[in-house]
Structure formats: C-alpha cells, structure tokens
Point group: C2
Chain length 468, copies 2
C-alpha cells in the first residue's frame, strides 16, 4: 500500500510554484501546517537520574554528558554589587552559527527559512534560519556534514556577506554563550530542501505578529538585517501601528542624546556595574535555595526555573530519539519597550542590565525584561521598574503584543510576552542611571558590531519593526 | 513516563485566554498548527475491489456499502439539449447539516469553528463549521449522539436562528445533494471542545485569503451570513482591494438590471435549459468512455476524475480507521468572477449552469467554473467562455486569488483556484443568453432562500467579501 498522499503529491505540486521560487503569502500558513503535521514528535519527561548518556559528576554534582560533548549543567555564583545570587546554568563552550541565506526576487528581499523541530518549542516546529549549527558541525563540515546549506557560510565571498557578527544568547540561562549571526546573499537558483522555503522579509514580519511562529534565531537575524539596512520594505497589515510613522526613528542616530553620548552611558554603566560570575560545582549551590533531586533541579520556593530530563522522539522519514536535560522556566516572561515621542521622534527606554551568564559586561536590554511571577511576593517598590506601566497600558497603547518562544533546544516552553507600549508626552524623561532614552536608529547602530544588545532586545527590535 | 507536553499544558494555558473566550488574531496560526500536529492521519490507496465493507453490486456494477448506508457510486446519464454525457456520480440520499454556532463578543460576531480532519483535505485538518452531520446523526441525535453541539440546532428558539436554508452541493460529483445550512446565535458562555475555537468573522475572512484553511462548508456559511446581513465588519488587510470601495455593491439590489429582471432571466434559463439526468447502473456507462477496474474507475482518456479506494487511519487519543471510495479529480479547477463597474457600481458576470447532479434546474454559477485541463485538447472556440479573460488578467487586476479545497469527505484533493478579475469599462456589457451582469447585493438576495446559487458561487462570494 503506497501512501496515496505521496502518490498524488507531484500532481498537487505541479499546480503550485516550484519550491525554488518564493512561496506566495497565500500559501504560507498551509505550508507551515503541512510541515508541522508531517513531522511527528513526542517529548516525555524522564528523571534526571535516569537520562541515558548523562550522569552526575561525583562530588561536583554537575550534570554532564558521558562523551564530554553537548553541554553541562553547572552552578554559577554572581556578584553584581548590591545583588548576589547563585543558580544553575547551561555551560556550552561553543560558538554556534545562525545563518540565513537571502536572495532578492524582483528586488524584494527573501529569506530561505526552515520549518525546524526543537523539543522545547511550542508546537515543536517553528521557522528557523537556513542553518543552525554548533561549532563542531561548523568546523568539521569540510569533512562532510549532514547540515544542509552550511557550505554557503564557509569561505564565502565577502561581497555576499550582509551580516556577520557575534551576539550573546540568554544570559539568564546560558554562560557566556555567543552565536555567530550571518546573512549571506545568493543571486541564482539554489536547491530548496523539503523543510525549507523562500519567504519574503515582509511575510516574515507579518508572521511575527502571530504567537510562536518565528523562532528566536530568526527574529534576531531579522533585527540584524534591519540594523544593517537590508530590510527595505515595511509591511502594511491589520495590526495597529504607532500613532505616527516611526520610519524616521529607525534611521535617526541623533535623538534625545547623541549616539556618542549613548555609547558613553553604556561604557559608564559597564564600569560601575562591573560584576563577576564564577562557575561553581552544582553541589555548592544546594544550600542556597536550589534542590538537586533525582527527578529535577528546582528552586526551593518553586520559582525561576527547573532543570528536568526529557526523552525526545521524532518519527518521520527516519526515526530519531535522544534524551537530554532541559531548562523549563516556571512562568512566562515579559519583554517590553516603553516608547515615547521626544521632539516628534520615537524613542524607547532601555536599561543596562547584568545577567548571570554575562556578568562581566552589562548589555543593553529592553525597558522591562523579567518574569513577573518571580516578583509577586515582593512589595511593589522592589518589583522591576516600569513593570506597572507596561502591564497597565490600555490596549489602544499596546502597539505590539504577542507571545514569542525563546531557544527550543535547551529551553522548554520558555516564552515571553513581547510588547511595545507608547506613553504620552506627560511621561517623565528623567531616568534612573541604569536607564536611557534612545532612538531605534541608535539601537541599530549599537547592534551592528555585536556584543552590546542582549538577545531579548534584538528580538523586540524585530517585533517593533513590524509596526512601521 | 507521562507526556511532558501534557504535564505542562495547564501552565501554558493559564497564560492564555480561556477557550470560552475568543481566540485573538495573534494566536490563531499557532492554534491551527497545534491542532493539526496533534492529530496523526494517514491515507493509503487501496484497490476498489479490496475495500473492506464495500462491494460491487452484481450485474449493476454500482459500488455500494454492505450496510446500505453512507453512499454509493452509480452512473448518471445527462441530457442537456446540445450536450449529452454519462459519468459516475455519488448518490447519498441524505440531507446533511452544516451548522455554525455564533456569538457576539463586544458586539463583534464570532464563529465557533472546528479544526476538523477529512481524508480528502489538503493538510487533512481545515476549519469547518461547529457541526457537520448527516441526517442519520441529526434525526437520531435525541437518542444520544456523539456529535458535539448538535443540540444547538435542534428545537432552537427561532429568534436565535440567523440562517436556515437548504443549499445544493457540487453538482459535478453529487446527485441532487442538499445540505441544511444553519447559523444559530448564543448569548452566553458555552463549553468549548479541544478542537473548537471562537474566531471572529474578520479573522476568518483574513484566513480566507490563505490557501486551504477554511473548508467548503465554512466558506458557504460565511456567504450565507453575509447575504443575511450578519457580517457587519469588513477586515482591513494587506491584500489589494478593488480599485474603489465595493461596499455599496454588496447592498445594491438594483444594478444594470433590476432584481426582478434577474430572477426572470434565471426562470427563463431554467425553462430553456431544462435537462434531465437519469441514474443508471455503473455498468451501463463502461461503453461510454469510463473504465470500471478492480483498482479504480477512470475515464479512458485520463480526464475529469477517478474513483479510487482509500484506507484512512487517524491515530490520536482514540485510534480510528476506515475504508471508502473517494472521487479524485485529475486536475485543479478554476472558479472566477469577471467583475466590472457599471455606472460606478461593481457588477459580476454570472452564468446559468446545468450540472449532472442538478440537471433539473440550472443554478447560477460564477463567470468561469471549470477544470481548464479538461479542455486543453479542444480548439479555443470550444473552451469555456471568458476562460482566457480570467487566465490572462495581469496580477494588478486579480483582486482575489487563492486555492481553496472542496468537500474532503467524498472528494480527494479537489481544489479550485478562486479568482476575482476586474475588467475595465471597455469590456462589453453584451452577454450570451446564459450570462448576466448582477450586483453582489442581487446575489445576496438570490442566495437567501436557497436553491438558486451553486456552491462554487457561494464560496466565491465569501472570498469576494474579503475585498471590501
């Protein structure tokens, strides 16, 4: 019995555009559903102590893979001036690659995205960049790699490299993890694999108004492309847009403060907020609020996140399965800009922020970046600044508002509500020292070299760009 | 090992709106993907002669179920004046119910749609009405039915019934099949099943711009609601809209001709095109171009459609499987309006059309309704009228253009390209006797009582309404 679907597929395909051409807007949702439904995945929970291939290092308590590869769960002790804390953290001393192949069809920029499964993703399959690869894939690839399209990011003619920079990933959960973000342009037909498709940047921006479709790496690469000036078309859509056009704000490098002054502010904050983080054996933090159990690693008050074990199976053309630890946040986060016109130009309020995994240097972060549930037990004056402004903004002032997923390979259902809230001219321009009003153009300028903006901010910039 | 996804589901749900509330636009695509991915389906081809439960009636050759229930494949001989032909046809002497439960949330009309699997659907799962049930379900339901929400369509207070009319289904493939189309309004919280969700009418209209998301019954119910005046809000979206607002055209019952004159034209065509169709044993048509094989029933030239057998299995919470014959068209069809302003008011060109399954009375059909591939072998002057106008229209004049699926329970991957093409004032108003210029408001008036418009036209009216 042959699969009848497969038997008639060639007929159906013949009535659509070939895969090497862009997929029209009208066909995108159907393609997403088709790719998701064609891959069967299952994630089941396994006690950490029973994870195949993983063990607890005697003495240390660190959770490591027996091959020494992949990643480890260790402890970290952070000293950031007034704040000190310890927590488990993912140690993965590799630079990964997030690479997008792009092409202009009729002058319109398109991205070759992949409908890719990750065990921690909402819905398993989300749109990822053309290639996501670890450094071991990346450097050994010339000896023959199974990662499709990797060759486009190796020995590439520099004239075709639109973006190439190192950026950090979530400092709350990863220790000093950097990823190489690359965008490479092609100008000819290339083969398109079954899970890949050419989507226009404006289609991707439309999808970014929906929950949980574009994965974290795709969002941050869109932000990189925008900052580098390669997102030329702004979509028009049913979403409310900011009360006046923000296009100028995307370009303006001079705002309430000059770009130089913003840079000086960041340097200053980095000096004043110099913090240290020390990797310690997991066992050392058990007396400081964290319980290491056979089942999971969790905070004694049930807050922040757990480390749990999962068994993953993907049944499709080939059966694959594996087991791994994964970090499961206990609650949904909030990542938001407070935005305000200053002399007619849209500004957003940003903060200099220290995280466990990037303690050495503060990064610029959105106005609010937190898990509100972790602060419910505290008095109002100890909760994150501006949290109430963002939460209480009426719907008419919430210009962007959607749920997006963070990394799905190491984080399980880690979601943030991304929001852009516009306040009126009565909102004070005075800010505490860790906060600063900047234009979107200034953020673009700070994004380009890498290392200044945290990943939540880069995601939020991609979301904000959909409003133009 | 518990499913970890299920274990954390309640947490994820808690961060979203409860299911009894409308699902916001941003969450719809993710929900569609989630419902599609959570249902595993498989359709495999089986020779007709090996179909479990089905057999060929000795002598007749008709394909029937051993219980006498469901449906049968028989032959039909059509005499429509200059044209005579024979073909296999689905005989299903039951009136089905397509029922939509609707509710106004904050005055905005919402529909309780179902993400429902049919074996012949592209992607298996499409959005269907709240209830689709056969008459046997329907009439026996008071003895306890497994069809959720059926009770909302039984003994309903007439004040809550917004739409209730009998409409025909595809006359090309079904013999005299009528469906009861009902829309019932509720004004209180009701339980929402896992595969159901409240979506606004404007969300559904946005989804109708995408290929293969809304099934045939949902599209035709939207057309019924529009005709009955219950679609008050028109969506604004990125799709090109007609060059001037068409809102007036949706209401205008007086156009190039009065509504009475349009009705008189239809009556006249019905008299002049009086045709007959006679159900005959399938064996009788084998000498007239159709081959009855153990594998399939097909036309000797490979045209039109095949009848094939399928084995369907749906693995999910409960395993279900069945076998059935299904009609698989050999090619994609085209369903299109040629639209033109007449004295500033948008008109569309319609035809009076006779089909095998509804030969007794011509129905009003779109300007073009055909499978172009079936005519490629004919000289240009024998191809369907206006086909070239619709096919050759430049993209800027194609105001609606998407692929939609027809019924998925009896038809396999039956798809039509739906298109609205606007021509300029130079396009002749003279029409052959079978064609007529009408306003959309006139079509609404003709739709309401049922029995006048074929199902492709009703679908196309729902598509056209997204342009307002």
């Amino acid at each position: 019995m042959a699969d009848y679907r497969a038997a008639v597929e060639s007929r159906d395909r013949s009535s659509s555009a070939p895969a090497s051409r862009p997929r029209p807007d009208r066909a995108i949702i159907s393609w997403l559903i088709e790719r998701s439904a064609s891959q069967n995945h299952r994630v089941e929970r396994v006690p950490l102590s029973a994870l195949q291939g993983w063990s607890t290092k005697p003495g240390d308590g660190d959770l490591v893979h027996q091959s020494g590869r992949f990643f480890a769960i260790r402890g970290v002790r952070v000293d950031a001036g007034p704040q000190q804390w310890t927590q488990p953290i993912i140690v993965q001393p590799e630079v990964g690659l997030s690479g997008m192949v792009v092409r202009r069809f009729d002058s319109v920029m398109h991205c070759l995205v992949r409908a890719k499964m990750e065990p921690g993703n909402i819905n398993y399959v989300q749109l990822s960049p053309t290639v996501q690869a670890t450094r071991s894939n990346y450097t050994r690839a010339h000896r023959g790699s199974a990662v499709p399209y990797l060759e486009y990011f190796q020995d590439t003619d520099p004239r075709h490299v639109l973006v190439d920079a190192l950026h950090t990933e979530q400092g709350s959960w990863f220790l000093a993890k950097n990823n190489r973000n690359m965008v490479v342009e092609v100008d000819r037909d290339i083969p398109v694999e079954e899970d890949h498709a050419w989507l226009s940047v404006s289609s991707l921006q439309s999808l970014l108004r929906s929950d949980d479709i574009l994965n974290m790496s795709t969002r941050t690469l869109l932000a990189c492309m925008g900052a580098a000036g390669f997102v030329e078309r702004m979509p028009r859509g049913p979403q409310t847009s900011l009360s006046r056009p923000v296009h100028d704000s995307f370009l303006a490098q001079s705002g309430h403060h000059s770009l130089d002054r913003v840079r000086a502010w960041l340097d200053q904050r980095r000096k004043e907020r110099a913090a240290t983080s020390e990797v310690v054996p997991l066992r050392q933090i058990t007396n400081e609020g964290w319980n290491l159990g056979a089942e999971s690693i969790r905070h004694e008050r049930g807050r922040y996140f757990q480390v749990v074990g999962i068994d993953v199976s993907a049944t499709g053309r080939e059966v694959r399965s594996w087991q791994q630890p994964i970090i499961a946040p206990t609650d949904t986060g909030l990542v938001a800009f407070v935005a305000r016109r200053i002399d007619g130009l849209l500004h957003v309020l940003v903060q200099a922020r220290v995280e466990a995994g990037a303690a050495a240097g503060a990064h610029i972060a959105p106005t609010v970046q937190c898990v509100p549930g972790n602060y419910e037990h505290l008095p109002a004056d100890q909760r994150p600044r501006y949290l109430d402004v963002v939460r209480e903004a009426p719907a008419s002032r919430r210009h962007y508002d959607a749920m997006q997923s963070e990394e799905g390979g190491r984080l399980f259902h880690a979601r943030n509500r991304y929001r852009v809230v516009e306040v009126d001219d009565g909102f004070s321009l005075d800010t505490p020292p860790d906060y600063q009003w900047v234009t979107l153009g200034q953020l673009d300028a700070l994004l380009v070299p890498g290392g200044n903006l945290d990943i939540e901010l880069r995601s939020l910039m991609a979301c904000t760009r959909t409003l133009a």
